[in-house]
């Protein structure tokens, strides 16, 4: 169907999702999308992404406090640092786009109010998930789930976004979450 309609490269994933061994994402297409209408400015999307990155960072930081293998703690600490760098990059990008002289405090206030409005609460998610963490495998599985959901959400934001600059930011963020997913998967294999 696609090849006859001018699509240049079309592939069929042999065996479909059943054959694929990676970490899936789940939930209806609109999950997390209540935060995005499609007409957001690049600044709005940066705020959302910043909030998601902060959620991930909090999770990784909290996970390092749990009694799990040293190698896993090392990777989780690295991931927490990477999310912190993502946040910094997002703030730099925000400042570059926003003509106003923004401080980190006013930026974070804007992020928090927008996330609360959208009903996203990373602290609650972490608290409700903690009892399920019995060992490194549980923590890594949860981390992979978060990264997969995060990546999936960025891609859906990108598809919905009408601004080319926003799309580019989101694709880049999705790409980095994909790399995280791969490193967590590699670690998981080693356990």
């Amino acid at each position: 169907m696609l090849t006859g309609q001018g699509f240049k490269q079309v592939y069929n994933l042999k065996g479909g999702i059943a054959a694929w061994q990676g970490q899936p994402a789940a939930g209806p297409p609109e999950i997390g999308m209540m935060l995005v209408k499609g007409d957001e400015t690049p600044q709005d999307i940066i705020c959302l992404a910043y909030g998601l990155e902060e959620g991930l960072r909090k999770f990784y930081t909290a996970a390092t406090q749990m009694a799990i293998e040293a190698e896993v703690i090392k990777v989780l600490s690295q991931l927490a640092e990477i999310e912190e760098r993502h946040k910094q990059r997002l703030f730099d990008l925000y400042k570059a786009i926003d003509a106003a002289d923004t401080t980190i405090e006013s930026f974070e206030n804007k992020v928090n109010s927008e996330l609360m409005e959208g009903g996203f609460d990373p602290d609650k998610l972490l608290e409700s998930s903690k009892p399920a963490f019995k060992n490194a495998t549980d923590v890594l599985s949860f981390a992979m789930m978060l990264e997969a959901q995060g990546m999936d959400l960025y891609m859906r934001y990108a598809d919905k976004s009408e601004d080319a600059q926003v799309k580019e930011i989101l694709y880049k963020m999705a790409d980095e979450e994909k790399t995280h997913l791969k490193s967590l998967g590699d670690l998981f294999e080693k356990l």
Binding site: M1, L2, T3, G4, Q5, G6, F7, K8, Q9, V10, Y11, N12, L13, K14, G15, G16, I17, A19, W20, Q21, G22, Q23, P24, A25, A26, G27, P28, P29, A148, Q149, M151, D152, Y154, M155, A158, D159, K167, E168, L170, Y171, K172, A174, D175, K178, L181, K182
Partner: protein
Amino acid sequence: MGIRDIFSTFTNMDTEQFQSFIDTNQEGNFTLLDVRQPVEYEGARIPGSQLIPLPTLNERLQELDPEKPVIAY
């Protein structure tokens, strides 16, 4: 027309080739197309997939970029 007929002109990509493809290609430069039903998509999907159920694919082709490689499942 069955699903086999629709995919008959596709090049098959096995899971190893697929993993290597997504590892080496930047997000946004290709389309992962989930042509299953919404309930299947909601249950589990490859992250970043775009849902266009097969029965609606023909009328929604304009949502896809023909210049980008498409990997369907």
